[in-house]
Each structure stands twice: as structure tokens, then as C-alpha cells.
């Protein structure tokens, strides 16, 4: 009697091949088919924020760190759209494909493996994040809120940041008993991050303890720091630190999310 050594419960590095791009491509094809309903809302939301907060509220607010309020929040809107793009793609959308549509089951009956399915989903989540944030970038460019050619690096940074949020989201998808479960990370993690990551006011306004916690735990803090530096053309040493933080956490969450999903899907 042979015991099978490779138990799915064991933490392992995923074995990935080019086939993960077939999964990415499937999602891309669906996106292109539904681009009208996907694209317009993501265009309108940042315009509303710019109007209400930038022009409306911003009129009452002193310049922050030497820039007008609207210029201060515009790069944050780009980072937030990357967060939403990655997070919602790999929670609700991935869960629907996995649980209701059984799309993953259908794909793993082909030469594509479970690990490649998840990796393809994660890279697609990152792509969605980059598409969303680049769209918002175009909007703020149209409002004349870009001050540096470094802005051309923003889509790449959004892709990386988006991958982080996609991996984070996939960890929740791996343990979600039902789709309503995502209310927890959405309201307890994403909403606080939206407000407390140096998005609408500098982190230094917060109590020291909260500021430190935001720097240590909240990925959006680092993504906002990077994108704001690139959009405003103010390159600082802290940006390298943010880049390192995002890279390390992304690698860790990438491995964790694939392993958690394998545990859920392989019985």
C-alpha cells in the first residue's frame, strides 16, 4: 500500500506554468465583453470625489504639505481605485466564479492546475486594479492635477499594489463560508483603510499610536505614499521603504492565498 506523500494540507511553493495566463485571458475576455458596465462607473466615482471633496470641501481647507487640497487627495483616489479593483475582483467576483458558477471546477478538469487557476485569478485582480487606477489617473490628468512625468510609473505601481489587495482578498475568499462573509473585510478593513491611510488628510494628524499602526498594518498607506510621490513629483526615501513593504507583503500573501485556496478546493 502506497501512502500519498503530497498532502494538500502541506504548505508548499506553487508550481506554476504559462497556463495561468489562460485563466487570466478568460477573465479578460469577460471584461472586454462587459466593458461598458465595468468602465463607466469607475470613471464617475473619482469625478464625484474630486467635485465634492476637492472643489467643494477643498475651498475651506488650507494647502497640505504645500499643495492645494485637491492636488493632495487626487493621487489618493488613484491608490483607492487600485485597492477596490484588486479587492473586489478577488472577493465577490472570484467567489461567484468558484462557488456559484463552478468555473474553477471546470478549468481544473483541463491541464490547468488549481494553483494556476488561483494565480491567474490573482494576476487578473492586479490587472483590474491597474486598469481602474489608470482610468482614474486619466481623470485627474484631465483636471490638470498631475505635476510630474514620474506619473508614467503609476500603472506599474498600481499593478503591484493591486496584486497585494488581490492576494489579501483571495485569503478571505479561501475561508468564506458564503458571499455575505465579505461584509467583514469590506467594512472592517477596506473602509478604515479608505479613510485612515493618509488619503484625505496627512497621517501625522492622527494620534501617534494610530499613525504607527497605519504604517505597520495598512497596505493602502504605502500605496498612497508611492503614488502621491510620483504624481506630485516628490521623490522621498520613505517611498523605497513603502515599495519594499508592499513587495514583501505581496509575496507573502501570494503564497498564503494559493495555499489556503488549495486547502479549500482539494479534498
Amino acid at each position: 500500500m502506497t501512502k500519498i506523500a503530497d498532502s494538500p494540507a502541506k504548505f508548499a511553493l506553487p508550481k506554476l506554468t504559462y497556463r495561468l495566463w489562460h485563466v487570466w485571458r478568460r477573465n479578460f475576455d469577460v471584461f472586454m465583453k462587459t466593458i461598458k458596465v465595468n468602465f463607466l462607473p469607475s470613471l464617475i466615482e473619482p469625478i464625484l470625489y474630486l467635485l465634492a471633496l476637492g472643489f467643494g470641501l477643498g475651498g475651506f481647507i488650507q494647502p497640505i504639505e504645500g499643495v492645494p487640497y485637491i492636488n493632495f487627495i487626487a493621487p489618493a483616489l488613484v491608490a483607492i481605485s487600485a485597492m477596490y479593483g484588486g479587492f473586489f475582483e478577488c472577493t465577490y467576483a472570484s467567489f461567484v466564479r468558484m462557488y456559484f458558477q463552478k468555473t474553477f471546477d471546470a478549468i481544473i478538469a483541463t491541464p490547468v492546475s488549481v494553483e494556476e487557476v488561483i494565480a491567474g485569478e490573482l494576476l487578473w485582480g492586479a490587472t483590474r486594479a491597474a486598469i481602474n487606477s489608470t482610468t482614474v489617473l486619466a481623470v485627474i490628468a484631465a483636471f490638470g492635477l498631475i505635476s510630474s512625468p514620474l506619473v508614467l510609473l503609476v500603472p506599474i505601481v498600481s499593478l503591484l499594489g493591486g496584486l497585494l489587495f488581490a492576494c489579501l482578498a483571495m485569503c478571505f475568499t479561501a475561508i468564506a463560508p458564503n458571499i455575505d462573509f465579505f461584509n467583514y473585510p469590506a467594512f472592517l478593513l477596506i473602509t478604515p483603510m479608505f479613510l485612515l491611510s493618509g488619503t484625505f488628510f496627512p497621517l501625522s494628524q492622527l494620534p501617534q499610536m494610530v499613525e504607527t499602526a497605519a504604517l505597520i498594518f495598512l497596505p493602502l498607506t504605502h500605496l498612497v505614499n508611492l503614488i502621491r510621490g510620483l504624481v506630485l513629483g516628490r521623490v522621498e526615501g520613505s517611498m523605497l521603504l513603502s515599495l519594499a513593504w508592499i513587495t514583501i507583503v505581496t509575496v507573502a500573501l501570494f503564497l498564503l492565498s494559493i495555499n489556503l485556496m488549495k486547502k479549500r478546493l482539494i479534498k
Binding site: T2, I4, D6, R25, D29, K33, Q101, T103, T110, P111
Partner: protein, 307 residues
């Protein structure tokens, strides 16, 4: 159609989910070109066995080889030559009928032009060509089933796995699926199916493996199994103590079973013995029928409900 070349070989194949043993140390071989049916009540381990064959679930114990490849280490090679039509509808609702096949072909690295060619041929073969540009949600259950079969064939598999291929279909759709399965068999595709329908197993399978509680309890050609376990004919009558005594005297070698308020009499004797008995005794509510695989199934697995 079958040859002596072994295509699938299982030794002590076992699958446990926690403390529950779904498949319990089974051994079997499947030969090239055969159509083999896994039969059994709910929870017998049929689907679990099929899912291990196409590397969907890892084995807990034992060995399983498909076309010479080890399922535990060569999943990719196996999945390339196997076509799977699962029980549940997992067609891609985001795409049209033909796009479903094209996207699925891509997972097998089939180039787009070739994929489109095969997709069109398959849609024609399964009589859903006119629906090629509609979304999945607009298909009837029977059409969805046929599209799942078409999808399972997009990689031109050597082995086709059909998990309850006709559950939920009306008789017309069921017969279309049967015809299609038969013509695939003629082309030399090895077919493994699971089913609850004994009629389906009799109509399609060269050989059936009867499973219960995770074990294979009997196997063989459907009509040979009927002959071995049941015999030729079955007489069904209303339960009546006096009549039972008469029948027992008349047919001392027959097997008698009471189900509810009916008595079934199974005989190994040639056709016609029951008819001659009825000519001499006038009875009401009588049925004479051929013994079938369902009789074998119920005899071997019992009549207790399983879920």
C-alpha cells in the same frame, strides 16, 4: 469493441474524507474501447472514483494509473487525454455557446482556428449548432447537457468520463444522449459512466461495476449479471397468503420476495412458465416481465433508502 489493452488500473484505491471512507480499497481494470458503468446507490463512491481518475481529488491510499500515467504525479498528462462531463452544470455563463467551447479549448493549448473548427463540428454532432451564439442561460437542460458533452470532447480525448449524463433529462433528450454515446464508442473512445438508471447501464455498457459503501460488490456484463443473480423472468402479484402457497408448490426453485403489498417471484426457468401458470389460474393485477439489472441492483444493495 474492447481490447485486452488495459487503459486504467486501480490497486487498493482508497479515498477518505476525514473519518468517512468514500472509496474503500477497490481494485479494477478498464480496457481500451470499453464502455464501463459504475452503478450504485447515492454515496456508494461512484463519483469519487471518477474524480480520482481525472485527478480532481488526490488518493488517500493505493495506486491509480491512467494510460500508463500515475494520477498522483502526472495529472497534467492525464488531463490532456481525458474528457470530463460532470454531474453539475459548470458551463461558463459569461460566454455564448461557441465561446464556451473556444475558451475551454484554450485551456488545452488548442490554437484558435483549430478550436473553432472542432467547436463547430461538435455543435453539429450534438444538434445545438443553431444555438451557437446564445448565452448558456437560454439553453434547456437537455441542450446544456449536450453542450457539456461537446465540451468534454474538445480535446479529442481517449477516455470520456460521464458522471450521471442523463439525470434530469426528459426521455427524448435522454435517447439523443444515448445515441451520441454509442456513436462515440464506435469511434473507439473508452467511456466510463456513472448512473442510477439501470436501463441506461443496460443500454450502453459492455460491463458494469456495482458499488456499495465504497466497495465494488459485483461486476460483469449486464445481461450475464441478470442471468446469474435473477434469472429470466419475474412475476409480480398482490400479496395473498393462499396464492403464495400455491406458487411455492408450483415453483419450488423460484425465489420469493415481498415488497410492500406485492410479491415478486424470480425464476431461472425458461420463458413461458409463468404464462402457462396464469392460463391455468385466473389472477388479477399480475405482471410478467423480463428480469433486469434493477432486480440485480436491488438484490445486491437492498431496498433501504440511502440519503
Amino acid at each position: 469493441m474492447s481490447s485486452s489493452e488495459i487503459l486504467i488500473k486501480a490497486r487498493n484505491l482508497t479515498k477518505k474524507f476525514g473519518s468517512f471512507t468514500a472509496v474503500d480499497h477497490i481494485n479494477f481494470e478498464i480496457y481500451k474501447g470499453e464502455c464501463v458503468g459504475f452503478l450504485g446507490p447515492n454515496g456508494a463512491g461512484k463519483t469519487t472514483t471518477v474524480r480520482m481518475i481525472h485527478c480532481f481529488w488526490p488518493l488517500t491510499e493505493g495506486e491509480l494509473y491512467v494510460a500508463g500515467f500515475n494520477v498522483s504525479t502526472q495529472a497534467c498528462e492525464i488531463k490532456r487525454i481525458v474528457g470530463v462531463a460532470p454531474q453539475e452544470d459548470n458551463l461558463d455563463p459569461d460566454f455564448t455557446v461557441i465561446k464556451n467551447l473556444q475558451v475551454y479549448a484554450r485551456y488545452f493549448d488548442i490554437p484558435k482556428a483549430e478550436a473553432t473548427k472542432r467547436a463547430k463540428e461538435l455543435l453539429k454532432f450534438f444538434q445545438i449548432k443553431e444555438k451557437q451564439d446564445v448565452l448558456i442561460s437560454e439553453l434547456s437542460t437537455g441542450m446544456k447537457r449536450r453542450l457539456i458533452l461537446a465540451r468534454a470532447l474538445i480535446n479529442e480525448p481517449q477516455i470520456l468520463l460521464l458522471d450521471e449524463p442523463t439525470t434530469g433529462l426528459d426521455p427524448q433528450a435522454r435517447h439523443i444522449v444515448w445515441d451520441e454515446v454509442r456513436s462515440l464508442r464506435k469511434r473507439g473512445v473508452t467511456i466510463i459512466l456513472t448512473t442510477h438508471y439501470m436501463e441506461e447501464a443496460t443500454a450502453l455498457c459492455d460491463r458494469v461495476l456495482l458499488m456499495d459503501n465504497g466497495k465494488i460488490i459485483e461486476q460483469g456484463n449486464p445481461s450475464a449479471l441478470v442471468k446469474k443473480h435473477i434469472g429470466a423472468e419475474v412475476l409480480e402479484i398482490d400479496n395473498d397468503e393462499k396464492l403464495l402457497q400455491t406458487l411455492k408448490a408450483e415453483f419450488p426453485a423460484a425465489r420469493f420476495e415481498a415488497f410492500g403489498d406485492r410479491i415478486h417471484v424470480f425464476t431461472m426457468q425458461p420463458h413461458g412458465v409463468f404464462e402457462r401458470f396464469l392460463e391455468r389460474n385466473s389472477l388479477t393485477h399480475v405482471t410478467i416481465r423480463n428480469a433486469n439489472l434493477e432486480d440485480v441492483f436491488l438484490k445486491l444493495t437492498g431496498r433501504r433508502l440511502r440519503d
